[in-house]
């Protein structure tokens, strides 16, 4: 009996260390931690307010911009599953880029158009439209060529920071399911971004969420679109395991 228990413990420990330090828990989407009202809002593609951004992104995707006179659709025909493999290394610059940064890059280099800000409506709308086409599919595994960035992202995640001296894991691994003021603490997965957040009354990026968390523990936040947050985004992609994307997610 006792040896069985030990075996079980060993199995739990092994699966935990394989799935990116989530403890014994299976990855669960932030969706599972929302009230049924919020879940209903996300489930209905019509009611989901994030779809306002998806709609707008669809229009922008087909609108020619800049000196090239090209629209996104002139180069990109099929975007299904594309959001699964971001952040990824851009072959031109060698930089790690989130989907939004790739859109910004395309816009200035390939379309030769005026830059768009990271958290601007067009950036969120295009990211939501492209993300929506990967909804239901899991993230792609992180390739070995991104090992250094992945390691840095993981280090930031586990780094204690701010006046409260907390790392991400203190809430999103050790205190999952507990209440933080009016919110139930989730496992902190990034599979729904851009999300529509009821508190923001708007769509927002994962970087905005990370900034809010950093401000929450009274740490010095990084810029939206910073290398650090993109590396954390990469680590979160690996950490989410087989969790399907659900863009645009609705969160409290």
């Amino acid at each position: 009996m006792r040896s069985h228990g030990l075996l079980l413990l060993a199995a739990v420990w092994l699966s935990a260390s394989l799935s990116g330090h989530l403890g014994a828990a299976e990855p669960r989407s932030g969706y599972a931690f929302q009230s049924s009202d919020t879940q209903t809002l996300q489930d209905d593609d019509f009611q989901n307010p994030g779809m306002l951004w998806v709609d707008q992104g669809e229009v922008l995707f087909q609108t020619a911009a800049g000196g090239s006179g090209k629209a996104c659709v002139d180069c990109h025909k099929d975007m299904q599953g594309v959001a699964r493999s971001f952040p990824q290394r851009n072959p031109d610059t060698g930089q790690l880029m989130s989907l939004t940064q790739q859109i910004q890059h395309c816009r200035t280099t390939h379309q030769q158009a005026t830059p768009i800000r990271y958290e601007s409506t067009p950036a969120l709308a295009l990211s939501a439209y492209i993300g929506y086409q990967s909804t239901g599919l899991p993230f792609a595994p992180v390739p070995a060529s991104l090992a250094i960035e992945l390691e840095r992202g993981e280090a930031y995640y586990y780094q204690r920071k701010g006046q409260l001296n907390l790392g991400c894991q203190h809430c999103h691994e050790d205190s999952v399911g507990e209440m933080l003021r009016g919110d139930k603490i989730s496992q902190g997965h990034g599979n729904g971004y851009p999300i529509y957040r009821l508190e923001w009354q708007s769509a927002g990026s994962l970087h905005r969420r990370l900034r809010s968390c950093d401000i929450g523990v009274r740490a010095q936040p990084h810029q939206l679109g910073s290398q650090t947050y993109t590396e954390v985004e990469l680590f979160l992609r690996q950490r989410a395991g087989s969790l399907p994307l659900e863009v645009p997610a609705v969160r409290r």
Binding site: F46, Q47, M51, L52, D55, Q201
Partner: protein
């Protein structure tokens, strides 16, 4: 007017004398006018004040919005389908600017 886009759900067709559900979602900040920005300045109020829907020239619903309504207002209501005809949706903002959308409700006899 800051109506970036509107989403309207009308059934593709309805049976005569049945209730059909109409849903609308519009993007609008619905800024209450009670908030201050990070510089301590008041953010001016910017809200929609009125929503109406007409079916066959008759009002189906008229709603007045105040500053307590959340951003991106969602409306759902039922109407009794009688004959094929036009649905006219209007949103009016606090400056009196009006945004209008129309849809055709196709009604078939059972």
């Amino acid at each position: 007017m800051a109506l970036i886009n509107t989403r309207i759900s009308v059934p593709t067709q309805a049976q005569a004398n049945t209730l059909v559900e109409i849903k609308t979602l519009v993007s609008h900040p619905m800024e209450s006018g009670y908030r201050i920005d990070y510089m301590g300045e008041m953010i001016p109020r910017n809200i929609l004040t009125r929503f109406t829907c007409e079916y066959l020239g008759q009002p189906v619903i008229e709603a007045e919005f105040g500053p307590g309504i959340a951003a991106n207002p969602f409306m759902a209501f039922n109407l009794l389908a009688t004959t094929t005809g036009e649905l006219v949706f209007t949103w009016t903002d606090q400056h009196g600017e009006v945004s209008t959308e129309t849809r055709t409700l196709l009604v078939v006899d059972p």
